[in-house]
């Protein structure tokens, strides 16, 4: 009965399988939802959708398949006001409405509508309320825009005034952007690396058995430190100008994956790294951290990730005083080389698509400086970058 709905969901890339479909049917059989389209919508949603990202897509498909289906109301009030008003929008031109208004006002109009509806009904024989494609439903699936239908519904305070699925409340949860937070998190998870460090507080069962056996059967407990994540990461983000959007994304992504790292420290720079960077992008003038100090503070076991479009004027990299922020005694190239030398496991992530890299001189320069450790900010690029970060040296 609902199979076309199910098929349309799959077409709309809502990952539903037969199992969910059977669950829905089972739930219908058990009368979890009453015979009410809204309850059916909630039930179908809870049974078929498993991720809030898909809720919006589900709403759209549901609207497409089921709009026009009304909960059968009290049969005595065969023509609810609401319907008539919607039909007014559909069947009467502005002129006609004005005419009727002039003739006898709303009451008269209702009468006309009732008549027209009756005609309409007889033409579509068998078009029941439950057909959903044509028939008596004022919505229909003939491309009639439900947005337009909503005119005149403002005072309808009952909850069916605007269909729940038409409200599209989950729109902003759908993130079909190329690089979703989840994708990145999964990719970054590969950076996880476990090590045993710290206090020995976990029982080493194998070791205990072995040493107990050596001890002629007398218990000799062996403890080992707990395994935990050992990856420490310094993140350098280019702020300002074209990078602003990307940086916000990157910041969020890496912060979202914070639990995957033992330590994650952010730094910000503008266009290129010079003698100092800053910790807070809003207070860049006040709180600067000399790069030398970073190199002294964090040892070689840290990995670094630089995120920037590297699309700058070549002067900003190779000349003294090239910085757009203030005077720099040594060119950016020197500082970049220092950074890459101090941290053997370093990568540069570039949001500019890889195919345009050859077109920008500065990108080529930074690629050379980084010894070809620049990767595009895509899932595949991230994978490659992480593989590079895992390598020693």
């Amino acid at each position: 009965m609902f199979f076309s709905f199910f098929a349309e969901l799959r077409e709309a890339k809502v990952p539903v399988s037969l199992r969910e479909y059977l669950t829905l049917i089972e739930a219908m059989q058990k009368r979890v939802a009453a015979f009410d389209i809204e309850e059916f919508y909630f039930l179908a949603r809870t049974a078929l959708v498993k991720d809030e990202r898909h809720l919006d897509r589900f709403d759209r498909v549901f609207g497409h398949c089921f709009n026009g289906i009304e909960t059968p109301g009290d049969p005595k009030t065969a023509l609810p006001e609401e319907w008539l008003r919607k039909i007014a929008e559909r069947f009467l031109t502005e002129e006609e409405k004005r005419q009727i208004e002039a003739l006898g006002g709303w009451e008269k109009l209702m009468e006309t509508l009732r008549r027209r509806l009756a005609e309409h009904r007889s033409r579509h024989q068998g078009g029941s309320k439950w057909s959903g494609t044509a028939g008596t439903s004022p919505f229909g699936a003939h491309g009639y825009n439900p947005e337009a239908v909503r005119i005149g519904q403002q005072e309808g305070s009952n909850r069916s005034a605007v269909k729940v699925w038409d409200r599209r409340e989950f729109r902003n949860l759908d993130d079909t952007v190329e690089l979703g937070t989840r994708n990145i998190k999964l990719a970054l998870r590969r950076l996880r690396q476990f090590a045993r460090e710290g206090a020995a507080d976990e029982l080493d069962l194998g070791g205990t058995v072995k040493s107990t056996a050596h001890n002629a059967g007398w218990l000799d407990l062996k403890l080992v430190p707990e395994r935990h994540n050992a990856v420490k990461l310094l993140l350098f983000l280019d702020v300002g100008g074209s990078m602003e959007d990307h940086v916000r994304v990157c910041e969020e992504l890496f912060s979202a994956a914070r639990s995957e790292f033992k330590q994650l420290i952010h730094f910000y720079f503008h266009n290129c790294v010079y003698d100092s960077v800053w910790r807070d992008s809003r207070r860049r003038r006040v709180e600067q951290v000399p790069v030398i100090e970073i190199i002294r503070t964090y040892d070689r076991s840290y990995r670094i990730v630089l995120v920037g479009d590297a699309s700058v004027s070549p002067y900003e990299i190779e000349k003294e005083g090239g910085s757009v922020e203030r005077w720099n005694d040594e060119p950016g190239e020197v500082w970049l080389r220092r950074l890459f030398e101090a941290y053997p496991r370093a990568v540069w992530l570039n949001p500019v698509p890889e195919k345009y890299w050859t077109g920008t001189v500065s990108i080529g320069m930074i690629r050379r400086i980084s010894e070809d450790r620049m990767f595009p900010l895509t899932l595949d690029g991230l994978d490659r970058a992480i593989a590079r970060l895992k390598r020693r040296g």
Partner: protein, 284 residues
Amino acid sequence: MRRFEGTDTYVATQDLQIAVNAAIALERPLLVKGEPGTGKTILAHEVARGIDKDLITWHIKSTTKAQQGLYEYDAVSRLRDGQLGDERVHDIANYIVPGKLWEAFEAAEAPVLLIDEIDKADIEFPNDLLLELDRMEFYVYETRRTIQARHRPIVIITSNNEKELPDAFLRRCFFHYIRFPDRETMQRIIDVHFPGLKHELVYEALTIFYDIRQAPGLKKKPSTSEVLDWIKLLLVEDISPDVLRTRDPAKLIPPLHGALLKNEEDVHLFERLAFLHRRERGGS
């Protein structure tokens, strides 16, 4: 089976009620997600209370293993007892410690089992529980015994989206995303928590609250639990609705904002907004 329709301290929207009732009727787990502070964990407590069942909670941490929910074999105690010549040592069953799932399976009446923050555990954790949650049984290797649920417990699982859950696991669950309540629902929630509160105060407080949530660039948006705390504070400090109403733009930060803005940067953001506002007014 009784249906869940919310309780006197918990407002359940219609979609949530249907999700819970579907999970109860079909005896499948219900996975609940949503913004922090929208009452995911509380839901299990209230479901248990609403349909009059016992509640068993299993809080998941990053170190939790699926096996711990089933049972653990206390090898160390046994080793020690063996050395001391304790009689109990001959029966391995004495050293099998049942976990939360076992406890739920053995209960005389089907309880509500809350598996809280499942995403905190390792990515493989949900996969390790697939069969157990599906068939509601598991095998104890040490005693060669199969533990079967006497009654299938009502399982409620919460997740904060820290990790992706495997598809096979999701397919076995009902899913509900608790949306942030709209103003009308929020009003009902507040009524339930603070009955007889002055309507004016609630109105002013909610206006401020929804304004704050709309401020662009907030790191952590305040949620239901925060607004409830804030209103409690307003009551304790006896702040009158008039104070809230004086929408002096220079004082953009509401009184007792500590309950709403939990992030230093967010407070800064508001101070900055207030400053800009002042300047705008001064200039015009």
